[in-house]
């Protein structure tokens, strides 16, 4: 028994050492990349940050620093891409939001906006108010509050009407959460946000080199990838602006 315990402790110790050792290596490489950035050697800094990402590390500050570096290298598309990736991990970071807003002013085209009727606008605004996970959490909350109010109504005879009325209200909220949540989950699964990373991307009516060019997108424009066909990606910006572009011209956030 004693031997088994010692064995477990040794394995746990090795595992902990390897994990913390790897993190220490990451920190060292990150500091080295930061040093290159401070010295103005942005090419080296970007290469080191990219290496860290390629090793499987995911960190908001890492994406943020890479966004800064690409901006210094005048690669606006890559910069916005990495800031957007960082935004998923650091949604409230003021530095990040300020930099993202600033870098977007360098995009040479105006980001197209969908023209929507008031009810479409209402639907999309509510649907996008929460993330897919947010909607599921909201659904869990209203669902359990609904059954909670039914549960209380079984015992509190005097307040039964009040609890039941509240229950109806919660049932409506639950229905809304199911509706908007399922729409958001479907949208999240079907589409992926992306950023144009090449200087100019030709968007064609058909997925082939000789396809007619419908319009051009400049670096940094954000779009949605709806589907892929080999080396071609089908993009959608607005209801009347969509088409095929070579996938190398865009990168998924």
């Amino acid at each position: 028994m004693k031997k088994i315990l010692i064995g477990i402790l040794v394995i746990a110790g090795c595992w902990t050492a390897s994990v913390f050792g790897a993190e220490a290596d990451f920190e060292t490489a990150f500091s080295e990349a930061n040093g290159h950035y401070a010295e103005g050697d942005y090419e080296k800094a970007a290469a080191l940050y990219e290496e860290l990402l390629a090793s499987g590390l995911s960190s908001g500050p890492l994406y943020y620093n890479l966004g800064n570096t690409y901006f210094k290298l005048n690669r606006i598309g890559k910069s916005i891409l990495n800031y957007e990736r960082a935004r998923h991990l650091l949604p409230q970071d003021e530095d990040l939001l300020a930099n993202l807003s600033f870098v977007k002013t360098f995009v040479e085209q105006e980001q197209p906006k969908e023209e929507r009727r008031w009810y479409e606008w209402l639907w999309v605004s509510i649907r996008d108010y929460l993330s897919a996970e947010g909607w599921v959490l909201f659904l869990l909350l209203t669902y359990h509050l609904f059954f909670g109010s039914l549960f209380l109504a079984l015992f509190a005879e005097r307040l039964r009407r009040g609890f039941l009325s509240f229950g109806w209200f919660l049932l409506v909220l639950t229905g809304a959460a199911v509706m908007f949540g399922s729409a958001k989950i479907t949208l999240t699964a079907k589409t992926s946000e992306a950023v144009v990373v090449s200087r100019v991307a030709d968007v064609r009516y058909s997925p082939m080199p000789e396809g007619i060019v419908a319009f051009q997108l400049r670096e940094g424009i954000q779009t949605e990838i709806l589907r892929r066909d080999g080396e071609w990606c089908y993009l959608r910006l607005t209801r009347d602006k969509s088409g095929w572009v070579r996938c190398e011209a865009v990168e998924e956030i």
Binding site: S31, Y37, S59, N65, N74, E133, F151, Y205, M208
Partner: protein, 631 residues
């Protein structure tokens, strides 16, 4: 035909087909989508190629009676496989479904028009069609009183690069059910750049479909015109010529299904189904059936003459701006510390082609680092003039102390009104860079609060914020929690189960409280068991009177509780009542026998043996158990 064997067939009807087969097993078919059209409309001609992937679309010959326009290429089912052979990437294409090249043939006149036999080249091979094809082009009357198209340009004689404002207006005084709007040159002007004019924010916007595919935002308003009230749809485009010459813009056409009258519905037919139809239509105000008629309107052709801008007198700083402009430059602040930014703001104001205006060039002072300029354009439409301003903001950062100077900055443009080049020069602008860190500490003075009011902190220039020094927080990429197994089971199943079970318990409790018969019936067996246990004590002691009294009470009270009756009313006669409950005759017989034996024992005072008591006890016990199951 260079080794190409071709076959052709023509099917009279809606489709004309020509089939070819080349040495590379290419299969080519030509078809058109209709053989009867209205003047102003187009026939769609498709060339479908299977077996090979041509690099360029076939070029069709000029037809006498038709204008030909290449629309585009599509592939209904296309896939490609990329393979790498000896380090070289080779793309293999599967083209079973074929490429379809589409052309619009617009007739030039009304009548029976022949599309003659024709030849075209494709991937180095020549293909011929075998027979001509006939297309009937009919006309419909123009309806000037109901439909009217007006197109105009603000200038017919312009210089190269000078903006022309094109205005399209469609007037109609009736409801329109359907329409087809054609501006033949829209989207394929080679010698003009076309862009949207600044929108009117106060106008109501609608979407128009042009040439069957283009969507254009148009302003909608109601106007009095020629003494009648018309709805007018209007959009404007800025055309900038990039080639000199005289250009004719072909007329625009509209074919519209115009509502000429309304027919009241026949409400005498009143079936159940019709009732709902009427009710629905009445609610939405569509109870009347529209009578429609197809009508057409066309605009006049337009002509624009573009003159080249003169070569003589062209200043070196001219970069293509054509219009009437003013040029302003400011440099702020004039005195900075080392490492602090200076903003050079150049503003071009006026009317003209703002898109062509480029950043006026100027050399950066020595020991200054310049950053990419921020460019803003703000234009609006004033009458037929595009007015606005274009602002360039360039940041310079002084790296060394000293007195410097930004040399004069010149902006040149061609003024089409006066037909000459103009140059506006601003500057020079002195800049003094003072020492940064390490200089003598400044003398501090106290600023009274009232003087501090209104002096907001202004951002002098913008740049990105600095990098972060810590990697934290490091996150693990993982799937959303709602995709994990059992999330939905654990998250959503327990709550309704708990409420359901609680509801059933509550309902049972309530019934026990309010339904006395139910409560007595439910508790009868337990109560009888308790009584029977007490009787068993008398049995063990051999106390016959108390045993019989107790056993009788046990059976009597059990039946009273089961049948919700007073105990006094339970006698051997109860057997007669129980016959209606479809009990087994043996049970009834047993019950009657038990009652009789108990009565006999209680009232005869005869001595009973222990065996008799034990036997009766067992019988009553079994009887109670059997009756509990059936009552």
């Amino acid at each position: 035909m260079k080794g190409t064997s071709a076959t052709f067939c023509l099917i009279i009807g809606f489709v004309a087909v020509a089939t070819f087969a080349s040495a590379e097993r290419a299969e080519v078919t030509v078809d058109i989508d209709k053989d009867q059209i209205v003047f102003g409309d187009s026939v769609r001609l498709s060339v479908t190629v299977k077996g090979i992937v041509p690099d360029t679309p076939p070029i069709l010959p000029e037809f006498d009676d038709f204008d030909t326009r290449y629309i585009g290429t599509r592939m209904s089912s296309y896939s490609s496989v990329t393979v790498v052979i000896q380090g070289k990437t080779v793309e293999q294409k599967r083209t079973e479904a074929g490429s379809v090249f589409e052309y619009a043939l617009t007739p030039k006149r009304v009548g029976r028009l022949d599309l003659p036999r024709f030849s075209f080249e494709l991937a180095g091979e020549t293909y011929h069609t075998y027979e001509p094809y006939t297309i009937f082009v009919t006309d419909i009357p123009e309806a000037q009183e109901h439909l009217l198209l007006k197109v105009s340009v603000d200038k017919e004689n312009v210089y190269l690069g000078e903006s022309v404002l094109f205005t399209f207006e469609w007037y109609f005084d009736r409801n329109i059910e359907d329409y087809s709007l054609t501006i033949p040159w829209y989207g394929r002007l080679k010698d003009f750049l076309m862009e949207d004019s600044p929108p009117n924010p106060n106008a109501r916007q609608v979407q128009l479909i042009l040439n069957d595919k283009e969507r254009v935002s148009a302003e909608k308003e109601t106007v009095n015109f020629r003494g009648k009230r018309y709805t007018v749809l209007r959009f404007k485009k800025i055309l900038t010529p990039i080639g000199a010459g005289t250009y004719t813009l072909d007329p625009a056409f509209v074919r519209a299904e115009v509502v000429t009258a309304y027919e009241e519905p026949d409400r005498t037919r009143f079936f159940f189904k019709d009732y709902f139809d009427f009710a629905f239509e009445d609610v939405f105000g569509r109870g009347r059936r529209a009578i429609t008629e197809w009508m057409m309107a066309r605009s006049e052709p337009l002509s624009v003459s573009v003159k080249p801008i003169p070569e003589t007198g062209r200043p070196g700083s001219f970069t293509g701006a054509v219009g009437e402009f003013d040029f302003q430059v400011s440099v702020s602040p004039g005195i900075v510390q080392q490492g602090e930014p200076v903003t050079v703001t150049m503003k071009v104001i006026g009317t003209g082609n703002f898109n062509e205006i480029q950043l006026p060039d100027f050399p950066e002072p020595p020991h200054f680092k310049g950053y990419a300029p921020e460019i803003r354009t703000d234009t609006s439409l004033s009458g037929n003039l595009v007015i606005g301003e274009k602002i360039f903001e360039k940041i310079l950062v002084g790296r060394q102390e000293g007195a410097f100077e930004i040399p004069p900055i010149a902006f040149s443009f061609f003024d089409p009104q006066e037909g000459e080049y103009k140059t506006i020069t601003r500057g020079p602008f002195p800049i003094r860079v003072e020492p940064g860190k390490g200089s003598a500490p400044p003398v501090l003075s106290v600023l009274p609060p009232e003087e501090r009011k209104g002096k907001e902190i202004k951002v002098m220039t913008r740049d990105i914020r600095y990098i972060k020094s810590s990697l934290e927080p490091i996150v693990q990429e993982k799937a959303p929690f709602y995709e994990r197994p059992f999330f939905w089971w654990f998250g959503f199943v327990p709550a309704p189960l708990l409420v359901g079970v609680t509801f059933l318990i509550q309902r049972r409790r309530l019934k026990l409280r309010t339904d006395i018969g139910y409560a007595r019936r439910l508790k009868a067996f337990k109560k009888a068991e308790k009584e029977r246990m007490a009787t068993e004590t008398h049995l063990r002691k051999g106390n016959a009177p108390d045993f019989y009294a107790g056993l009788s009470k046990t059976l009597t009270y059990f039946l009273a509780d089961k049948l919700n009756r007073p105990p006094a009313g339970i006698t051997a006669d109860i057997v007669e009542d129980l016959k209606s409950r479809s009990l087994e005759p043996t049970v009834l017989q047993e019950l009657k026998s038990c009652f009789e034996r108990l009565d006999l024992a209680k009232y005869s005072r005869a001595e009973s043996g222990t065996e008799e008591m034990q036997d009766l006890y067992e019988k009553v016990k079994q009887l109670i158990q059997r009756l509990d199951r059936v009552l």
